[in-house]
């Protein structure tokens, strides 16, 4: 077992209820420490379940998840978590919420960074949580998670409620944490664009399974977008993720297994294209990480 994995799943599965209602299944991947990982997928794909499993807030039905080299429960003091609906105690004020963070994390509370996150939102410290807007609540929830100075930060749709300005600023704060302390960050989103510049690792979740996992650069390098005549041949040797014929032209996203014949024009795909092609074609073979286990 490699000790430098911040997060590692082995055949992880979670079923809700007794029936065949799998939120996540057969999930194996490894996320090295210090990465900023985007968990991308459509709504209901299993992103939240995956994060809750990693945070030790729910127990897996099968398989295992290893967090910072140990069980999620044992790693919990070193993990920060922000749930999708940003739960906070509505009766507390902003200042009280931060003081609670300090009291409940006495070993490593970074009051300065927590206050900085809150201050950026021009929040009145005396305001009650119940009076805040969605974006302001997100800010307080992030302050609590970042103030804990975790080694692994799990964020479920952290940017959904934020305006573009706040999104940029808070993403900057998160990246600064990653740069300064080597914090591993895992954040989910169904909007790829908001994570593209900030993340270097991707977990693409679709239909409760991992569709793609790995370094974004490597994933992009492993795929080609090709175009050629509709009757051209020679794609058979490669893994075709998606292909489409428009008139006389055939375009495809492939995982080349070797050199491409000359009748094809090849382009580097964008991350968006890569993700959409995989989500549109759940039948295409998944690309598990090469460096897994």
């Amino acid at each position: 077992m490699s000790s430098d994995a911040a997060l590692r799943a082995d055949a992880l599965g979670k079923r809700f209820g007794r029936r065949e209602n799998w939120a996540l299944r057969d999930c194996s991947f490894r996320l090295p420490t210090g990465r900023v990982c985007a968990v991308v997928g459509p709504n209901g794909a299993g992103k939240s379940t995956l994060l809750a499993l990693a945070a030790g807030l729910t127990a897996p039905t099968e398989g295992s998840v290893t967090v910072l080299g140990t069980t999620p429960a044992a790693a919990r003091p070193r993990v920060g978590f922000v749930a999708q609906d940003k739960p906070l105690y509505p009766q507390l004020t902003v200042a009280e919420t931060l003081r609670m963070g300090a009291d409940l994390n006495p070993e490593h509370w970074d009051a300065a960074v927590a206050e900085e996150v809150v201050a950026g939102g021009d929040l009145n410290p005396k305001a009650r949580i119940r009076s805040l807007s969605g974006g302001q609540r997100t800010r307080v929830a992030l302050a609590l998670a970042v103030g804990k100075r975790p080694e692994l930060l799990l964020l479920d749709e952290p940017m959904a409620d934020l305006d573009p300005l706040a999104r940029h600023e808070l993403m900057g704060t998160l990246m600064a944490q990653a740069a300064q302390y080597g914090t591993t960050i895992v954040m989910s989103s169904h909007v790829v664009a908001e994570l593209e510049d900030s993340c270097d690792h991707l977990l693409l979740v679709g239909g409760g399974r991992i569709r793609l996992a790995g370094e974004i650069d490597e994933l992009l390098a492993a795929h080609l977008r090709v175009a050629g005549a509709a009757d051209a041949t020679g794609l058979g040797a490669h893994t075709v993720v998606e292909s489409k014929v428009t008139g006389r032209q055939l375009t495809a996203l492939i995982r080349p297994a070797g050199p491409l014949s000359g009748e094809w024009r090849a382009f580097a795909p964008s991350l968006d294209e890569l993700i959409l092609a995989h989500l549109r074609n759940p039948g295409a073979p998944a690309l598990p990480e090469r460096s897994a286990a």
Binding site: A55, G56, D85, L92, M100
Partner: protein
């Protein structure tokens, strides 16, 4: 655990997360309500023990000294007032376990799981098990202390009326019994545990409130059924022409035949039937608990309810562990 409620920043002894303070802060309204209820009931019970009992006793003295003359003047209002206030206080103490169960199920645990704030708490520097332990222990101390005070005062108030007020309740009146002793305290604690378990299992505010209260009411019902059997009862025998003996908590009674056998009271509807039925009967028997069994019964009931409360609390920890998947050996890092 540090039970400080001051808001001033104290130089922190590193290590221990201060959960207690935040349980108290988050449930401050409930704490105030509990304190208010304690003050009101304390005043009422002290009144019942003192002036109200004295006035009612005086009323009864006046009434009993009336010798069948047409005009008899006695303080009926004082008698009725004592009876009403006694009933209010007794009902309040009987309702307390249900009240605690509803609050624990809804506000203490159910709402936290429904809104997700429990997840927030569990991902701070404390384990879910510690979170639960503090959520059980802190209210348990507050509930036990308050309920102990009230039930002691209730017993004093009841004692003050005993033998002086003709309409005073007997010790085995079930509402009086469950208000004036340690059973009141342990039932409230069992209510707390039942509410917490309901909240953890159901994860919703309203269902947890209802189920917590129902379970507590059911537990109370079971203890009432079991009560007569929780201490060896006394049997007294009397002849047919004597008034049946045994003023107390009845367990069973019957008749004694000429051959000495003990049988149930025979059923008869007409005089002829009854004469025939009783022809063979020489006496009565009665199994019951006299007043001297009051405290033994209080203590055995309390022990029983306390055991159930402990099981409910254990169940809460198991339910929590089942849902969060925390293995047995996770407590070392933060505890």
């Amino acid at each position: 655990m540090t039970a400080v409620l001051t808001g001033t920043p104290v130089p922190r002894a590193a290590g221990k997360p201060r959960l207690t303070r935040w349980v108290l802060r988050l449930h401050r309204p409930a704490l105030y309500a509990w304190a208010g209820l304690l003050v009101a009931l304390t005043a009422l019970l002290l009144g019942l023990r003192g002036p109200l009992a004295d006035a009612a006793a005086e009323g009864w003295r006046q009434y009993n000294s009336c010798t069948g003359t047409a005009r008899c003047s006695y303080d009926q209002d004082a008698i009725v007032r004592y009876k009403d206030y006694y009933n209010y206080a007794t009902v309040a103490l009987n309702a307390l376990p249900m009240l605690v169960a509803g609050w624990a199920g809804a506000a203490l645990v159910g709402r936290e799981l429904e809104s997700g704030t429990a997840l927030l708490a569990w991902t701070q520097g404390t384990s879910p098990a510690r979170w639960l332990a503090v959520r059980l222990a802190v209210p348990a101390i507050a509930v036990a202390a308050g309920a102990a005070l009230l039930s002691w005062l209730h017993h004093l108030a009841w004692s003050a009326g005993r033998g002086r007020i003709d309409t005073a309740k007997d010790w085995y009146d079930r509402f009086t019994f469950y208000a004036g002793g340690p059973t009141a305290v342990v039932l409230a604690l069992a209510g707390l545990a039942a509410g917490v378990l309901a909240g953890l299992v159901l994860r919703r505010t309203l269902p947890a409130l209802l189920v917590g209260m129902t379970v507590t009411a059911a537990l109370r019902g079971v203890t009432e059924i079991a009560l007569p059997h929780l201490w060896p009862a006394v049997t007294r025998v009397s002849t047919t022409d004597q008034v049946p003996l045994g003023a107390g908590l009845g367990v069973d009674e019957g008749v004694i035949t000429r051959s000495g056998a003990r049988t149930p009271v025979p059923a008869c509807h007409t005089e002829a039937q009854c004469r025939a039925a009783y022809a063979d009967i020489t006496g009565r028997w009665s199994t019951y608990h006299p007043y001297s069994h009051h405290w033994p019964l209080q203590l055995t009931t309390s022990a029983l309810v306390l055991a159930v409360a402990a099981l409910l609390a254990l169940g809460s920890f198991l339910a929590l562990r089942h849902s969060t998947g925390a293995p047995r050996t996770t407590e070392k890092a933060t505890a």
